[in-house]
Symmetry: C2
Subunit: 256 residues, 2 copies
Amino acid sequence: MAFIQTDTFTLRGYETDAFGRLSIPALMNLMQESANRNAIDYKIGINDLAQQGYGWMLMRFRLRMHQYPRYGQTIRVVTYPTFVEKYFIYRDFQVLAEDGTLLADAASTWLVFSTAKRTMVPLPDFIRTLSPPQLTNTLPKLALKPHFQNNPFTPTHQNEVTVGWLSIDQNQHVNNVAYVAWLIESMDDKLLETRELAEIDLVYRTESHRGDRLLVQSVAETDDSLIHRIEQSSLPSGDSGKEVLVAHSRWRVPSS
Amino acid sequence: MAFIQTDTFTLRGYETDAFGRLSIPALMNLMQESANRNAIDYKIGINDLAQQGYGWMLMRFRLRMHQYPRYGQTIRVVTYPTFVEKYFIYRDFQVLAEDGTLLADAASTWLVFSTAKRTMVPLPDFIRTLSPPQLTNTLPKLALKPHFQNNPFTPTHQNEVTVGWLSIDQNQHVNNVAYVAWLIESMDDKLLETRELAEIDLVYRTESHRGDRLLVQSVAETDDSLIHRIEQSSLPSGDSGKEVLVAHSRWRVPSS
């Protein structure tokens, strides 16, 4: 059976940024909440996987913002799986205004890891055999390696963050959305004050944990786009420089 | 006319902490969202005040956690003003489970500042004359200076945070709840892993802004309580050491 998840959220004050627009981390939290609920319907929720020694890991998330909703507006988040392969499952999201205007959409790629080994495994049968809804408007599968992941990367900006307790989720590693908050916070004032995020494409490479020190790096790609990288700054094990996330962001002048 | 605000929230995954309990910053966000909505009914919302050149400032917030709700539970947040004085307005909160069990409560004290002068002013008449509901179970007015504000304070722990863009609200200063997140994140692992917050009492002293560097300090008061202080670490103006917040927290072994 196929399930399409639809959730309605009325935006709360603390979900908006200094300009009253829905904040990107708040939106991503809402989207992932809907994804969790959809997964529960498919019996592939976090707990369903945990019981069999598995966990979900987000591999790639590409979000496009078409229009920013504001405080008090009601949005509809729609999400469903689109394709299932040996190692990956793909999921789309749409964020709609009450009148049906498309405010944002996202494509995403997920994999499964073994909690004992902490390594990627082929999708277990109970996931592999699920039926995505048959829709005509699914987004194309995201490539496994986007262009910006292969480019040479020499950061022109870098700051360090230490992973705090509130960034840790029930999987005991850093929540996906925390990285996005660090990445946005590392942008310079002028960009944040004069532009809005039009698109962000995130490739998650490895997990990180409480107390880890991370280097948040970026370099301009064009006038309105940047490439980002987050790496381990140092670990007691000497395991340094490990890539945690690479990302690409595109910015634009707000329309209003 | 008197208004009692009641909101129902079903807890989302990202509102819980590493142990699956509702996180304190998430709860405070929900409580303040309800307070905003109640203020709108009284025509003393953020926008009502802004139009007349005023803003709200939270002066003190004392939260007691009786029992932590978890992911998926539905909670009811009830809030209303309790007393109005020349300079201060007091507001109570109750957080209830679906069966009416009291999960948390809070007392709070608010003042009004002039946006032009950035200084406290007497409550304008349209606030001064409002009618709180006539209830028998209002919490006692909080004292203007709690005991821990007068004690000599020599921190045994200190860390620095830089105010990022996502901590700034539409008033262009740091959101009340951001301080609480920094304070909790500054606690040591052992405390966070073995205890839960039973009570937190916050005294807000002065505002802070994007880019400010803050020192988050604490010292044990007893085996299960701490005193906290957040101060400006340095400002371009040379305005250093200014007290931003003082607080007191009490911790306990979780019952389950």
